[in-house]
């Protein structure tokens, strides 16, 4: 879905079109849920956070104005904030547990995913977060900058360093 299609769907959804809203759900929920489940390591919690994210997004959708910001960036900003609110209450990020990743995938890919998971577990939270937003959420550097509320150049630098550290951990 390109930005123009996304904006058309947003306009329709803002006008009360449930089908457009459903299309947005279908487009963004896999990324959003993948991001949440990778962040929280808890499917049930991820589902709860997904619901609260969408509820807040729908509540604020009538006031949403693109201004060069994609809806996905906005949704991930809300999801990120939901996670932070949860951590503020629980005061910690749950440790990585590969056994919780119970998604059925092919053997080779499962091995690769476990390897990446182990590599990411050696990185800092900020590095993991920027890699999640880039590769799970599939956000552009510009959108990541909006989500993290930092400079565009800073995102490029951080992403480059995070990947370099991941490569180092891989070797």
């Amino acid at each position: 879905m390109n930005l123009q299609q996304e904006q058309e769907l947003v306009l329709k959804a803002q006008a009360g079109d449930r089908e457009a809203l459903g299309a947005l759900w279908d487009a963004f929920t896999p990324k959003l849920f993948g991001y949440l489940i990778n962040t929280t390591r808890d499917k049930t919690l991820a589902e709860d956070l997904l619901q609260s994210t969408w509820l807040k997004a729908i509540s604020a959708l009538p006031q949403f104005k693109s201004r060069g910001v994609s809806l996905s960036a906005w949704l991930f900003a809300i999801a990120r904030n939901e996670c932070r609110q949860y951590w503020r209450k629980s005061s910690r990020e749950e440790t990585f547990n590969p056994a919780q990743h119970d998604r059925e995938v092919g053997n080779n890919q499962q091995d690769d995913n476990l390897l990446v998971g182990q590599i990411l577990s050696k990185l800092s939270f900020d590095d993991r977060e920027i890699i999640r937003l880039r590769y799970i959420a599939d956000l552009s550097v510009n959108d990541i900058a909006k989500v993290l509320n930092i400079n565009f150049v800073a995102v490029r630098v951080r992403l480059h360093r995070a990947i370099a550290r991941a490569r180092q951990a891989l070797i």
């Binding site: 803002q14 449930r18 459903g22 759900w25 929920t29 896999p30 990324k31 849920f33 993948g34 991001y35 489940i37 990778n38 991820a46 589902e47 997904l50 619901q51 969408w54 509820l55 807040k56 997004a57 729908i58 509540s59 604020a60 959708l61 009538p62 006031q63 949403f64 104005k65 201004r67 910001v69 906005w74 900003a77 809300i78 999801a79 990120r80 904030n81 939901e82 998604r103 995938v105 080779n108 890919q109 091995d111 690769d112 995913n113 390897l115 990446v116 998971g117 890699i131 999640r132 880039r134 590769y135 799970i136 599939d138 909006k146 509320n149 990947i163 991941a166 490569r167 891989l170 070797i171």
Partner: protein
């Protein structure tokens, strides 16, 4: 796999992470059934004021309000101390347009004293324009701010004595103190540098007032000349009196001697008949009367002379005393010129005061204003990108 491209690996991993929840349809239906919130209600809730910007602006205004009268008061206190120090003598700061008539009054405000107060400077009186002598009487006043008033007072006292000065009075308490002293005029420059070094440039304010004592000196010189002339005149008059008296007395004595010799001749004559005897007696009587008269005039002359002599002596003595007095005044004046009378006021300074010395209130207000602008732009940025809280 280890050697594969990290980007491909992460992209594959990211794609594999994307998934739908198991209860996707249920959750989706729940979400889609949620009513859309009316715009107006949420719009009012979403409006947020830039409180941080307001707070910084208020602080900037407060800092500005505090800064303005504070600087004014500090300057006023310095001026007051100067006025006191200079005593009854008129004092003026260096004001070129008012000082054009000569160098009779000179005041210097060195270093960081950008302030000046104007009063009528002492004008030279009856001083010839060609007389370019400078007999500067210097008064020195300084304000020192310190964290330890007592220690500073003790150090200044030692410094004054180190410069061959004399401490006239000293007072020190926890919050303020002063020291009055006199030092040789030629030591003033080194003394000021020493005090500034002890106190620190930022905590030291000095005022110098110098007044040319030439009018007083000229007046003394005129009086001395006048008194000397008067003394010489009196001495000459007395001498003339003596000479005139001696001449008059000698004349009288000569006349008396002449009359006595004539009387002696008559006494030696032997009358031939009674008529001649009567004539001789009449002549003798006449001569004796004249002699008595001359003696009386001589005595009167002596009395007058003595009286006038005493009068002259008395006047000469007074004139001499006046001359001695003028000489003493001249010596005192020169001593005054050769020394500097000074007072150093010491006051306690708080940490906030030290900050104020280094960063003026205007700068603090300016920095707070910049912070307010930055806070406002941050606020604007959060408005452009919708808050994760879901507010537009």
């Amino acid at each position: 796999m280890v050697n594969s491209n990290i980007h491909n690996l992460l992209s594959q991993w990211g794609g594999a992470q994307r998934q739908l929840p198991e209860r996707n349809q249920v959750i989706k239906n729940e979400i889609l059934s949620h009513p859309l919130v009316p715009v107006a209600k949420n719009h009012r809730a979403s409006f947020r004021l830039p409180w941080a910007s307001f707070a910084f602006t208020a602080l900037a205004i407060a800092a500005l309000i505090i800064a303005v009268p504070k600087s004014g008061n500090m300057r006023q206190s310095a001026v007051t101390s100067q006025t006191y120090q200079s005593g009854g003598a008129p004092v003026a700061m260096l004001v070129p347009e008012q000082n054009g008539q000569g160098a009779a009054s000179l005041q210097a405000v060195p270093d960081n004293n950008s302030y000046a107060f104007k009063s009528v400077p002492p004008q030279p009186q009856d001083v010839p324009a060609a007389d370019n002598r400078e007999l500067l009487k210097t008064d020195y006043s300084a304000d020192v701010q310190t964290r330890d008033v007592r220690q500073m007072a003790a150090r200044l006292q030692t410094t004054v004595r180190g410069f061959n000065g004399r401490v006239d009075s000293i007072s020190s308490a926890n919050d303020q103190g002063y020291i009055s002293f006199v030092i040789p005029a030629d030591q003033l420059g080194a003394f000021k540098a020493q005090v500034k070094d002890i106190a620190g440039t930022k905590f030291y304010t000095e005022q110098l007032s110098a007044q040319n004592m030439l009018p007083q000196k000229v007046s003394l010189e005129d009086q001395q000349t006048q008194n000397t002339d008067e003394l010489n005149q009196l001495t000459a008059s007395r001498d003339q009196l003596t000479i005139a008296h001696n001449q008059t007395a000698a004349s009288f004595r000569s006349q008396i001697a002449s009359l006595n010799s004539q009387l002696q001749v008559l006494n030696n004559q032997i009358p031939a008949d009674p008529n001649q005897a009567a004539q001789i007696d009449a002549q003798k009587q006449d001569l004796q009367n004249k002699i008595q008269s001359l003696k009386a005039r001589l005595a009167n002359e002596n009395n007058n002379y003595n009286s006038q002599w005493d009068s002259y002596n008395s006047q000469i003595s007074d004139a001499q005393s006046a001359l001695d007095g003028l000489s003493k005044q001249t010596a005192d004046l020169l001593n005054t010129v050769a020394t500097v009378r000074g007072t150093i006021y010491i006051s306690y300074i708080s940490l906030w005061g030290i900050i104020g010395l280094y960063v003026s209130g205007y700068w603090i207000a300016f920095l707070l204003l910049i912070a307010a602008v930055i806070a406002y732009y941050i606020h604007r940025r959060t408005l452009v990108f919708p808050s994760p809280e879901g507010r537009g």
